[in-house]
């Protein structure tokens, strides 16, 4: 049975190549940044380089406070290959007080204690795989 095999990179890219470089630089410093359209004022978080509301690409960087409440979540037991070692982990979606929603890990709380509508805050964390991410933590 003749099978040759090779691997081709399929990367999860938090874009190193885009106009959003500043976001990643600030993230490393503990700041979470969004973009705000200079023309129509729409706030984008996660940040976008372009505004699809008014078609402008002229954006300001703004810091995100990150307080909000959890809308929904899941506890991932059967994980993708690269994440099996950290399962179970919680992925949640939060409504930020500032308007946008955000998807991120919910940490520092036992899965069984998580409640929809609980108060959360988005913070930066250097994770065990060496990647700095924004994550959701319980607040108050």
């Amino acid at each position: 049975m003749a099978v040759t095999q090779f691997s081709f990179d399929v990367r999860v890219i938090v874009p190193p190549h885009t106009k959003l470089k500043k976001f990643f630089e600030e993230l490393e410093k503990g700041k979470i940044m969004g973009t705000k359209c200079k023309k129509c004022g729409k706030l984008y978080f996660p940040p976008q380089a372009d505004c699809n509301k008014c078609l402008s690409s002229d954006m300001d960087w703004v810091e995100i406070k990150g307080t909000g409440k959890l809308i929904t979540y899941t506890v991932t037991h059967v994980a993708p290959k690269a994440y099996t070692n950290i399962a179970p982990y919680v992925i949640g979606v939060a409504q930020l007080d500032e308007g946008p929603k955000v998807t991120a890990w919910v940490r520092d709380i036992k899965p069984e204690e998580i409640k929809v509508n609980m108060k959360v805050k988005l913070v930066t964390e250097k994770c065990e795989d060496g990647i700095t991410r924004y994550i959701l933590k319980p607040e108050g």
């Binding site: 999860v12 809308i71 929904t72 993708p80 950290i86 982990y89 929603k101 998807t103 929809v116």
Partner: protein, 386 residues
């Protein structure tokens, strides 16, 4: 705009088809459809090949490879991708092709080989996860059960939907899968089995999830003139809807609905000039049990939030208000992503012809297929009439 009918359908058995390659599965479905339509390969004028992902096939541009194996070069062919709704999208385009008058007979064929030798489930899950937003969400290790689990938690919170109601969807679909010789799983399950199965992504358990399947399915569409000439049982496609939703969860307004479904349904009902209550039989996208419950609501088979009650009252069994997934659905029939939509069309065509055997919905006149790509990024709704 010309009227367009389905004049032939074919599909392989769905399952882990270790003995067959992508192309061999496509050939098998194609052959059945030709025989069903009483046509020869030379009669096919235009082809739409639906395949979800290059990664599954290993072959880049896999539609061309299927076309070659069917012996249909140098005829027109385009590979269509709308994630798990790819072959419904292909049927939509075959419809456009014939309706516009460009061709009289068009083939829409969907195929997927998800189980390839040596590939682990964790690898497949990881790869499929890249159908979620690569830039902002993938580095949290999302999975497809996880996306739907996120919808489920929200639905349970908002509407009081229960884990038992979710499991009842699985029980129904296995019940009908047991009557379908082409289903991946042909056995019934109990509510207890479902509720005791391993947790995949809370609150979804193993029996809330469809299997990873291989298979092919296709439909041959023809213009009114041709259809009436060659077929005693043309099934007319009278309504088409296509809606889309954001890839990133953070760009959704509501997590207890699929916005693309609401949009696609609106378009399709309007075009077909029917109401949800007119539908006699439906195949909806139950990749996960919560998906079927949201579909009941988003398609208007019940009010928003009452999907759990609808299955609890068995209204989606044959004899109920609206029989849904009486072929076993994705849950039991299987979900070889690129082939799924065409296999729904296969079932509805058989139902409207009265050829569905043990699982026939009596006197079905109007049918509906609802096929969701990924977690709602593409949604096709088609309405059929005999």
């Amino acid at each position: 705009m010309r009227r367009v009918a389905v004049v032939g359908v074919g599909m392989t058995k769905f399952g882990v088809l270790a003995d067959k390659s992508l192309r061999e599965m496509a050939f098998e479905a194609f052959k059945e459809a030709l025989e069903d339509a009483n046509l020869a390969p030379k009669d096919i004028e235009s082809v739409y090949t639906a395949i979800n992902a290059d990664h599954f096939s290993s072959q880049v541009s896999p539609g061309a490879s299927v076309m070659e194996y069917l012996g249909l070069n140098p005829k027109p062919n385009i590979r269509i991708e709308a994630a798990c709704a790819s072959s419904s999208a292909a049927i939509r385009l075959a419809w456009l092709d014939v309706a516009s008058g460009l061709h009289d007979i068009a083939l829409a064929l969907g195929v997927e080989k998800m189980n390839e030798a040596g590939r682990t489930t964790a690898e497949i899950i990881q790869f499929m996860g890249t159908g979620g937003d690569i830039t902002w969400e993938n580095h949290y290790g999302p999975t497809f059960p996880g996306f739907y689990a996120i919808f489920a938690i929200n639905h349970m919170h908002k509407y009081g939907t229960t884990k038992e109601q979710l499991a009842m969807v699985a029980v129904k679909n296995h019940y009908y899968g047991a009557m379908n010789p082409k289903a991946h799983f042909q056995r019934e399950i109990t509510l207890e089995q479902a509720l005791k199965s391993p947790m995949i992504s809370y609150p979804l358990q193993l029996y809330d999830c469809c299997p990873i399947s291989d298979g092919a399915a296709c439909a041959i569409l023809a213009s009114e003139d041709v259809a009436k000439k060659i077929s005693d049982t043309p099934i007319w496609i009278t309504g088409l809807g296509l809606g889309t939703s954001s890839v990133a969860l953070h760009n959704r307004e509501d997590y207890a609905t699929i916005p693309g479904t609401v949009e696609a349904a609106k378009q399709a009902y309007k075009m077909a000039r029917v109401e949800p209550r007119d539908v006699d039989v439906a195949c909806v996208h139950d990749c996960f049990t919560i998906a079927e419950i949201m579909a009941y609501e988003d398609l208007g088979f019940c009010k928003k939030g009452e999907g759990g009650k609808l299955i609890e009252e068995k209204q989606t069994y044959i004899g109920g208000k609206i029989p849904v997934n009486v072929d076993g659905g994705l849950k039991a029939k299987g979900h070889p992503t690129g082939a799924t939509g065409a296999a729904m069309t296969y079932e509805i065509v058989k139902q409207l012809r009265g050829e569905a055997g043990k699982r026939q919905v009596p006197n079905a006149e109007i049918g509906l297929t609802h096929n969701v790509g990924a977690h709602g990024t593409y949604v096709c709704v088609h309405i059929y009439r005999r």
